[in-house]
């Protein structure tokens, strides 16, 4: 579903100041192609702020973000929130709304919306009111809504928090499908199992800084940073 042009996102010297708190501090990161990145870190480490800043919802107070070598981000990225807001209308209509906003109209809009719902396993509840779906279904609908926009990179902020294991497993399957379709995935999580299975690389954040970026198997075997090692041992650094 994603564009054939490989996406490249580069953050250089990224900093975000929230009042007296330095939420992000001098972040240098580059993602190229259909990556699978899991952001790990303790609460307040800056995972959500980083995702929002990369997505363009928050303005960096320092540094810059470049997409595919250009300074201005295209609408080639989408984001799924920890608690997605669904409109008071049917599941299908929620996806169609997102497409309509982005200029997709008529038969193509309906087809893409139904296709996205089918891909996340929600075709059977297409006409159900979105807000009456279960937590897991709502999260899958949010992914379908984002995926229907055919983003080149999808950000997910703690997509499985507050979900029971079967619902979380279903989200994990859907994330895998999105990635298999060629979309780069960057997600934050506290679920180490999800990070291990769905992430090819781990970016570990500590107090707004990147403590390390390591291939997943290496990270869980022998993390390079003492902060990550403490985190994995259950001691919040």
């Amino acid at each position: 579903m994603a564009s054939a042009i490989p996406v490249r996102l580069e953050a250089r010297g990224l900093g975000v100041q929230l009042g007296s708190v330095r939420a992000l501090d001098n972040i240098d990161l580059a993602f190229e192609g259909p990556v699978r990145i899991a952001l790990l870190g303790a609460n307040g480490a800056g995972k959500s702020v980083l995702l929002r800043t990369l997505h363009g919802l928050m303005k960096p107070t320092q540094g810059e973000i470049a997409w595919s070598g250009e300074a201005a981000p295209p609408r080639g990225q989408a984001m799924v929130f920890q608690r997605p807001v669904l409109l008071r209308r049917s599941a299908l209509s929620n996806v169609e709304y997102a497409l309509d906003v982005n200029g997709v109209r008529g038969a193509e809009r309906a087809a893409r919306a139904r296709d996205a719902l089918a891909r996340v396993g929600l075709a059977h509840v297409a006409l159900r009111s979105a807000r009456t779906l279960s937590g897991g279904e709502q999260q899958r609908l949010a992914i379908a809504r984002a995926w229907a926009l055919r983003p080149r990179m999808l950000f997910l902020d703690e997509p499985t928090s507050n979900l029971d294991p079967p619902a979380a497993a279903e989200i994990e399957r859907v994330i895998g499908e999105v990635h298999a379709a060629g979309t780069a995935i960057v997600f934050s999580t506290h679920h180490l199992g999800l990070a291990r299975r769905a992430g090819a690389e781990i970016v570990f954040l500590h107090r707004g800084r990147v403590a390390e970026r390591t291939p997943t198997d290496v990270f869980f075997r022998s993390p390079r940073s003492p902060e990550a090692a403490s985190y994995l041992q259950g001691e919040l650094p």
Partner: protein, 234 residues
């Protein structure tokens, strides 16, 4: 005490007996109140929502003005509309003073700030929840206005009802611009005021009962719609 009880009996007699004068007044009241509430909602709901979501220049002053107009004295509105529509006024050529359209204009001006201020508050509260998600989808502030109004439609029923209630209960401005002319501009509130002053308590009471019943019915319907919406739309 006997007089009051007898007046109530006569009032119910007027209602159940389909007294033509009573129902003519009720009918005109409904027409002008619903018309003014609809016009005020058509303007006030999007206006309030726009102020809630769009960072307009002078927004704070606008919010203060909207809230201040909430308590606009109705006789002042009546006076202003009277001056505008009177023969020597800038809109005198329309020739609508002491007609139902003049009442609609005055009531709309009274209801509009209420609807706009309440809608702004509702939408601003919701915007805290929706903003990040809608912005993420590429929704502009202007596009967010109809989206939010539609998504909050069941909650905003309260605002519409508040507008309709304010419109239907208005006396001062209606008296000034309508003139309380029998069969032309006499609505329930002005008729109640007049009939009470004249000592015609049965008709005044009958109109009061109908007015109360309408308000109760509308609120019951709104409550039922909200209950249904929670069950079916979450």
């Amino acid at each position: 005490m006997w007089d009051i009880a007898a007046s109530f009996r006569l009032a119910f007699g007027l209602i159940t007996g389909a007294d033509p004068e009573l129902w003519r007044i009720v009918s005109l009241s409904l027409e002008v109140s619903v018309a003014s509430a609809l016009i005020a909602c058509a303007i006030g709901l999007p206006l309030g929502a726009l102020v809630a979501v769009k960072p307009l220049p002078g927004r704070r002053a606008l919010v203060v003005a909207m809230n201040a107009l909430f308590g606009l004295p109705s006789v002042v509105v009546g006076l202003v509309v009277y001056l505008l529509l009177s023969r020597a006024g800038p809109l005198g050529s329309l020739g609508i003073l002491f007609t139902p359209p003049a009442i609609v204009i005055a009531q709309t001006l009274l209801v509009l700030p209420i609807v706009a201020a309440l809608a702004r508050q509702f939408v601003e509260d919701a915007w805290q929840e929706y903003r990040e998600q809608l912005t993420s989808l590429g929704v502009s502030a202007v596009r967010a206005v109809p989206t939010l109004l539609w998504d909050l439609r069941y909650s905003l029923l309260t605002v519409v009802l508040a507008g309709l209630g304010r419109s239907a209960s208005e006396v001062g401005a209606v008296m000034i611009v309508g003139g309380n002319i029998d069969g032309v501009t006499r609505v329930m509130t002005t008729a109640i005021a007049l009939k009470t002053a004249e000592g015609d308590l049965p008709l005044a009471l009958a109109l009061g009962i109908v007015l109360l019943a309408m308000v109760l019915l509308l609120n019951a319907a709104a409550y039922a719609v909200r209950e249904w919406s929670v069950k079916h739309h979450g």
